[in-house]
């Protein structure tokens, strides 16, 4: 009988399924040459020559991942708008090819911009945050932080949407609003930036000295409310309130948040503090309140300089003048977008570069990579701005202008109102509610915040709970904001009770939840949601004949604050009750279930 033979199954399957080759690493490893003195010459690794297939394999996932990230954020929203327009309002999408191209530009632009931000701007922020506190005294550090806060505001993609909104505002119905967005547009962005700058300084000091956020919120709300009341006393100025409170939501976007945070955390780390679990929170809160103060202050200053009648006269005069003169190339698209893109990134980069070279005398590492990143950021900004004009703003404006046809007679829509008055308004509100809910839930920043919060609260505040609370808050806020526009109610009616309730809830909440709640609003209003909601609001306002269409974003900011604060209080109450029940059960000897 033959002897039994045994094989390992692994050997068998390898032999059958794979063609294996072995190469000794010794054959690949470079030989280090020695010079005449016997010293080793440092080996220079040669560049790798890639075949076309390898380049494709290497580049494809790189682009695919980044493209899909933005694709997932943009396409569902756009589809929702388009489908609603087609099925509920039975209106074809005008210029659908232009809008599709614009949306594609938004996706590509954001993809370039985010990658450029990561490679070209973030390394500066981190390097400055780490080395600046070691080489400069605290006041100088805070000065740089302030300037950086101003600079990042100009680089924020959504700021472009604010400027674009100026064109839609009618000078006759809201003269101060018109002049702020047109004649004073540069100053407007500057005061918003100054607000963000102060927020960055105070937020950084908060990291260093471990201050509580609650008193800072109270202190920041006093001037904000004070100026709001002053503005309310003048019916012309009151129309600026929507813009002022919206500007807070616009500023806290994908540039400001990471760059200011990385600087602040670096400074706090170098100062030996910042060990608190909550460090990192708070700057966003302040960055969304201070610009409100800045814009209101500017509006009041403008009102002392000119009168509404003068503004209207000047605007009409300018209009009749401009009718004959063709606008120069940099005032029309696409020239305006190119100039806008350059103007938002280049100053920030120059500022960071000067700080690195002159203040810190640090060498610039990886210059090639930085140049690549900065180029990408600028290109991305230009493409995004183009997409904003031709895609997001156009689509948002179109839906905003058409949705009122559900309950109003609109000239351009045949057979409008399409539904009964009450039914139509309900439909419009449900439409924006789901738009806000979906857009917020899809925001990648919210997912990240949810994970952080779940860790911070040791799982008491679940990630999904936070995400739904914030989305619910934003959605309800947007619906309330739309109600304000439909019935042309003063924004103050919603703003003052909303923020007053938020302050009362803040008083009763624990520090953790205060930090999370107030930051959640700023984190979730990203570069896609903001322009879309602004455009919808403005053209909706135009269609229903409201004075101005601002205010939706400010409602979308207060909504999540209230939602998260109340959820936080409820979570804490429930946790405490469970604890109490366990305690009493222990005392009485009754086993708990």
């Amino acid at each position: 009988m033959e002897p039994e033979q045994r094989f390992r199954y692994g050997d068998f399957s390898r032999e059958v399924s794979m063609d294996h080759h072995q190469i000794s690493y010794n054959a690949l490893a470079p030989k280090v040459e020695k010079d005449a003195d016997g010293k080793a010459i440092p080996y220079v690794h040669p560049k790798v020559d890639l075949r076309a297939a390898d380049v494709y394999n290497l580049v494809r996932p790189y682009i695919q991942v980044r493209f899909l990230e933005q694709f997932k954020a943009v396409v569902p929203l756009a589809l929702y708008l388009v489908l609603f327009q087609i099925f509920m309002l039975s209106q074809a999408v005008e210029d659908s090819w232009v809008i599709t191209g614009g949306m594609f530009a938004v996706i590509v632009g954001l993809m370039f911009f985010m990658e450029g931000l990561k490679l070209g701007l973030m390394p500066f922020g981190e390097a400055i945050g780490n080395t600046l506190p070691k080489k400069s005294p605290l006041p100088a550090v805070l000065g740089i932080t302030f300037l950086l806060g101003v600079g990042v505001t100009f680089a924020e993609p959504a700021i472009g949407a604010l400027k674009a909104a100026g064109a839609i505002v009618s000078v006759n119905s809201a003269p101060y609003l018109y002049t702020l967005l047109n004649d004073w547009a540069g100053t407007l962005v500057l005061v918003v930036g100054i607000g963000v700058g102060f927020a960055a300084v105070l937020g950084t000091m908060r990291f260093i000295y471990d201050w509580s956020l609650k008193p800072m919120i109270y202190c920041a709300m006093v001037p904000a409310f004070g100026l709001t009341f002053i503005a309310l006393s003048d019916p012309e100025l009151a129309k600026v309130l929507g813009l002022a409170w919206d500007s807070g939501a616009v500023t806290t976007g994908p540039v400001t948040v990471p760059l200011v945070l990385s600087l602040g955390i670096g400074i706090a780390g170098a100062a030996g503090s910042g060990e608190s679990r909550l460090s990192g929170f708070g700057i966003i809160t302040l960055a969304s309140i201070f610009p409100v103060i800045g814009v209101l202050g500017l509006a009041i200053f403008v009102s002392t300089q000119t009168s509404p009648a003068e503004i209207i006269a000047a605007a009409n005069a300018a209009q009749s003048l401009n009718a004959n003169i063709l606008p120069t190339w940099y005032e029309t698209t696409p020239g305006a977008e190119v100039v806008g893109g350059l103007r938002s990134i280049v100053p920030l980069v120059l500022f960071l570069f000067v700080v690195m070279k002159v203040m810190l005398r640090e060498p610039i590492k990886n210059a090639g990579l930085l140049a690549y990143g900065i180029t990408l950021a600028i290109l991305g900004m230009i493409i995004f701005n183009l997409g904003l004009t031709y895609g997001l703003a156009k689509l948002g404006g179109q839906s905003g202008g058409l949705v009122p046809a559900a309950f109003l007679a609109i000239e351009t829509v045949e057979g409008s109102p399409l539904y009964g008055y009450a039914m139509g308004i309900t439909l419009a509100l449900v439409f924006v509610w789901f738009l806000g809910f979906g857009a917020t839930l899809a925001e990648p920043a919210l997912n990240a915040l949810g994970a952080t919060v779940q860790n911070l609260t040791q799982g008491v505040f679940k990630k999904s709970m936070l995400m739904y609370a914030v989305s619910f808050g934003v959605a309800t806020g947007i619906a309330v904001g739309l109600t304000k526009i439909i019935f042309d109610l003063p924004l103050a009616w919603f703003l003052i009770p909303g923020y007053a309730t938020a302050i009362v809830l803040t008083y009763f909440s624990s520090e953790e939840f205060v930090n999370i709640a107030w930051d959640s609003a700023g984190v979730t209003t990203g570069p896609i949601t903001v322009p879309l909601v602004l455009a919808i609001g403005l053209s909706f306002g135009n269609a229903v004949g409201a004075l101005e269409g601002f205010g939706i974003l400010s409602m979308a900011s207060i909504g999540p604050i209230l939602a998260v604060l109340s959820t936080g209080i409820w979570v804490r109450y429930r946790a405490r009750r469970a604890e109490n029940m366990a305690d009493t059960a222990e005392k009485t000897g009754v086993p708990t279930t």
Binding site: G10, R14, L58, P61, Y372
Partner: protein, 120 residues
């Protein structure tokens, strides 16, 4: 009575270094090939990225290091399936090696121990 100690022998460690974010897919592939689990560290790596020149931007500096312990008989099949799942034959995608292990200790269900000892 002596304390009872049960440990495992005949194992190998597969260490796989890939770009940050790509680890999960590989762990799934390894589990499907029979590995029980993985330990994941974050790390930074250099090498191919610098030598690729301009294309280096497509390679993430941040890495994940996956440590997967397998039985010696599983090594080849798990190794191959990771290599396929991670597309390790593409430049910049990662690096993987196998280290022999002497012994290991972990929770082994008592019923399993009994069954194995009965068999001898």
């Amino acid at each position: 009575m002596k304390n009872r100690e049960v440990f495992l022998t005949d194992l190998a460690l597969i260490t796989c270094i890939v770009q940050r974010g790509l680890g999960d897919e590989i762990v799934i592939a390894a589990r499907e090939a029979g590995a029980l689990g993985a330990t994941i560290n974050y790390a930074r790596g250099t090498g191919i990225r610098e030598r690729l020149g301009f294309l280096g931007v497509a390679v993430e500096v941040e890495k994940e290091v996956l440590n997967i312990v397998v039985a010696t008989e599983q090594v080849d099949i798990v190794f191959s399936s990771i290599s396929l799942a991670g597309k390790l034959d593409t430049p910049g995608m990662g690096f993987m090696y196998v280290t022999p292990l002497e012994k290991a200790s972990t929770y082994i269900p008592p019923t399993v121990v009994e069954k194995l000892e009965e068999r001898g």
